[in-house]
Amino acid sequence: MFPFLLKSWPWYVTGPLVGLVAIGLLVVGNKPFGISANLRHMCAASFPGRVAFFQYDWRRAGLWNLVFIAGVVAGGFVGGVLLRSPDPVAITPQALAALGIRDFSGLVPRELFNWRALLSVRGVVMMAGGGFLVGFGTSWAGGCTSGHGISGLADLQPASLIAVISFFAAGAAASFFLLPLLVPR
């Protein structure tokens, strides 16, 4: 019906909207844009144990953010299912040739992200290991690509610049040296 709605957006639409999301949260309720804090709130809400890090009033500190992240899940459904792009991602296939990816449709390669992959050691290391490190590292660093990469850098915070350089360096290293060992051939 409206084919233009299904097209992927160019960077000059996507980037400024990300900036506006961060500004919007400040303007509405003086809330700092950051996703990874939700992982802490979820732990505090469901299984805090006797860990001091999770002993706080998560409703007061984080209910707004949990509601925000529920919106992100819903928005993912809108953008990834209802408005799913029919075209494969517009990168040159050679860019990822070293990873043996042939199917460029959808948001993630179906060769890697499926439940059967969890039956292999490679799949478990990639998804469970990768996920564990994302949770562990963002909590240690007190922020992720949104909290440090957008909010912190936009506020010219030196801590966030250190964080961004570090996670890009480690991300590149993992993609170049570890990921090729984990993709099926």
Binding site: S8, V13, G15, L17, G19, V21, I23, V27, V28, G29, N30, M42, C43, F47, V51, A52, F54, N65, G71, V72, A74, G75, G76, G80, R84, I91, A95, L96, L107, V108, N114, W115, M127, A128, G130, G131, F132, V134, G135, G137, W140, A141, C144, T145, H148, S151, A154, L156, A159, A163, S166, F167, A170, G171, A173, A174, S175, F176, L178, L179
Partner: protein, 154 residues
């Protein structure tokens, strides 16, 4: 000039209205992550392998909007719609070691799965059901960090 009046306490209906606003901004962000391909494993790996400028262009243009916006809100001493003065808490730098080691750990995981926390939740909504496993693993990582926190350098 007298000092601005103290922020009135946020009433319950007002708080519910604000939660609706956070949800709407979240929906917008979820659509931006998926339609803007920030939740695309291909785009993340393309950027981490320095094969294309897309992610860097998105970051740069996001900061071109957000940085002057933040500066203006601070300089004007603006108040939020809820009535509080807008204040962006500075991140305590300290030795900086937590930002280096924490972000190196995060980056390793980011490179392995090609997904950071925002896209993780957007992909759950987009129907990539196996992301539930990544999500549980991320919660486990967060919990273990909380448990080890007293013995980790900060």
């Amino acid at each position: 000039m007298s000092a601005p009046p103290a922020a009135a306490p946020v009433t319950a209906p007002q708080r519910e209205r604000l939660l609706g606003a956070y949800c709407c901004i979240g929906i917008l962000f979820g659509v931006v992550l998926t339609k803007g391909e920030l939740a695309s494993w291909f785009r993340i790996q393309e950027a981490l392998r320095f094969k294309g400028p897309y992610l860097y262009e998105v970051f740069a243009s996001a900061l071109v909007v957000a940085a002057p916006g933040f500066a203006l809100l601070k300089r004007r001493r603006a108040r939020s719609l809820a009535g509080e003065p807008i204040a962006i808490a500075p991140k305590v730098l300290g030795s900086g070691i937590r930002y280096v080691l924490g972000s190196l750990s995060f980056g390793l995981g980011w490179g392995l799965i090609g997904v950071c926390p925002g896209p993780l939740f957007a992909l759950l909504g987009a129907g990539v059901s196996v992301m539930a496993v990544v999500c549980v693993a991320a919660l486990a990582g967060t919990w273990v960090y909380g448990w080890l926190r007293p013995s980790l350098p900060h």
